[in-house]
Amino acid sequence: MLQNLHKTDTDTAEVKITSVDTYTPFKSGLEYSCSARGTWTIAHTSMLIPHCHQIFVCPEGCLRGVVLSAAEYGGLDRFSMVTVKEEDFVSGKMEHLFIDGITDILTHLSPAPPAALIYSCCIHQFMGVDLAFIFRTLRERFPKIDIIDCYMNPTMRKSKYSPDELMRRQLYSALEMMPKNQKSVNVIGNDFAFDTDNELAVMLKDAGYTLRDIVRCREYSEYKKMAESIANIYIWPAAYAGAVMLEEKLQQKALSLPVSYDYEEIDRELEKAAGYFNAPLPDLFALREAADRALERAHLVIGDMPVEIDYTATARPLGLAVLLFQHGFHVTAVYTDSVMPGEEKAVDWLKVHYPDLPVRATINFRNRIMQRDSADKNGGRLLAIGQKAAYYSGTEYFVNMIQMSGLHGYHGIITLAGWMEEASRVKKDTRKIISVKGSGCSG
């Protein structure tokens, strides 16, 4: 347990839901990085393209995180880099370093990869490096390799697209127009395989559709075949830019079916999908009942055990809090640095019914010395959903869910209820689990 040596008032890293009236409830300032590492970075996500090779052209400090990420998940065979030095800032030869460095790496690879994801960084954009020339030249030199321009540019994270959004766009940029298969549809933007047992996937399968998911692609040809699909379903907000790009480039319909814990919204999404794909709608009433039963079962086991939720587990942590409150759970905190679009209805409901619910930041500088003792205060019995909630609460009981872990819809709720039940019974080695960077990624 960290000791608060500095007498910092951590209250301003926490607000009550009743006072949340903006998407950004916490003042920006110095940022802390807590020890929960399970979420993926761009160095993990890009490995989803089968057999690709990634190359970063960056200064040493920027390379450190990505190269060790690759090393830790056993991906160094698919990773190389070109180090930018001080003299390159003034030499006027950055384009040459870029082109010659990449050429050197690609010509030494045997066999040549089907795709190379090449990352520039913040400094290249600020220096006005001619990236268009660089990538045009590389594509001419290596016509048999899909050269994919990628961006590690966190300085622009608050600009049009964050690096995460750009990654989830560029990940699909090697898809090229091909004849459409009217019975093929993609799910895009997720790091974890989309659960094929959920009602949406089952509905599509029953209607004769093939559901393609980059996470399940084992060969590059499978990845390329995603181009034949007629639509892209995306459930993770950061996939929006990718869906828009594919809609323009390949005329694939962008279909937003975000994760939701609101039964009415889930129904609307299923109706929307059924309408677009001309698929028979499943029995929504039965699905609701099944979800309710699963939550009731979980509540019987979990009882009044406090529950804390964080935004790395789900894009709708406040919506999940509402669902759990409505089924009798004792939600005691939600960790999120911002309120995601789509959570407005949940905020309004919580303000009326649980106005004192604490909403806590995770990167505020005060988080560093926040007492991680809410589990201790309850005799160790606290159920966290998400790694950051587990870290900050200090609990050994947690659902290790990251970016929804592929869950969606009613079946997602049923699965999550089962996970909660199990997590409330079985202790986990929290420190060991959350220390693993990019959980589930392998090179």
């Binding site: 960290l2 000791q3 040596l5 500095h6 007498k7 910092t8 008032d9 920006s28 300032g29 110095l30 940022e31 802390y32 990085s33 020890s35 590492r37 200064p59 040493e60 400090g61 920027c62 390379l63 450190r64 995180g65 190269v67 060790l68 090393a71 830790e72 160094l76 190389s80 880099m81 070109v82 180090t83 930018v84 030095k85 001080e86 800032f89 370093l97 010659d100 460095g101 050197d104 790496i105 030494h108 960084c121 913040c122 400094i123 600020f126 220096m127 590690m152 966190p154 300085t155 622009m156 994270r157 608050k158 600009s159 500088f365 005060r366 560093r368 010395i369 420190r431 220390s435 960077k437």
Partner: protein, 416 residues
Amino acid sequence: MRQVQRVLANYSADLFGICSALYELGGLIVMHDASGCNSTYNTHDEPRWYDMDSMIYVSGLTEQDAILGNDNRLINDVLEAAEETHPKFIVICGSPMPYLIGTDFPGIARVIEKKCGIPTFGFKTNGMHTYVRGAQDAFAGIAERFCQKRCDRIHDGISCNLLGVTPLDFSVVGNVEALKSFIRQNGFILNSTWAMGDSLEKISVASAADVNVVVSSTGLPAAKVLREKFGTPYVIGLPAGPSASEELLRDIHKAVPEKTHSVSGDPNALYSPESADQHNDVSKPRMLPVRVRERPVIIIGEAVLASATRTCLQRDLHIQNVRIVCPTEEDCGLLCKEDVLTDEEDEITKLVNEKAGIVIADPLYRRVIADAGVVKFIDFPHEAYSGRMYHSLMPVFIGDGIREWLMKKLTDGDTV
């Protein structure tokens, strides 16, 4: 091609060296960076992060601030945090973007210090040097700023400061404890350790010591500052193996009365092959087979540890042909003419495949070995290179045990 790493990784960067050096001293340390530096540092380079309180943050630089040169946001955010946390000092240091836009860190530090009255450092890092450079600046800055007065030597015997102790070179597997024990068990008084296990207050009385022991490259500039300010002599070395330990003890005893530092006049005297020959006691039994002793060895790593390891190989295990490849910018005057200071993958690859029979290096260097049947590779993990990945393989290299560890590794599966 220069600057290309097809298969290798890279070392922890300068700004992470600053954080690592100052981690335990109660400062507010801010990396002026958009995002990523903090999680990189505390995931891979900082094994203390989970358990030990330290105020290390990123500023969250944005595109708009960079374009407009808005340093005020950084200044105000630092002041806000300082007002709440009451740090003993403040550090701001930079990543590549601030370097590109010409951020004036010393100037910003002056503004912050003037406004809050807390000693503030502005280090000109840029994420393009190794951790050694950053940690050197940090330790030297502490020596300049906080070791102000000459403290009375109120002890009997010889008192030492250990300079250059960070997890990046020593990890958290027992080396720091072993190093401190070594000093005490040999009759010295340990005045302070820079900077693991001691407070800023303890370090501030460094002038009470009779000698500074530079145990890694990161401690050398601070030793020079302390010599300049207080006339304290320094020695460079690590007690890794019997001969290096003996050498270091002798140097400490010699440095105090003579007020000299051990490498100033003849930097190669300590660990050079010539020196090894002089010390080579032919009456001692050769514990390694001739076929092992005759194989040329290349050690890749930080200069002081690599040098001490060479001493152990040469004098304790009687392997004569040992070269060092130092990829961490600072040679501390410990490299011989056959040694190489480089971090270039092509050069390292050529050297180890053409000149080495045995390579001792961090496991990630294994990737440059062309033929494992020709070159034997001994894993010697270095936190500053592979981060937290190989803690379980890290030996305690302080003390005599390293000789046995090396001997076992040198003969394991030896078929040559």
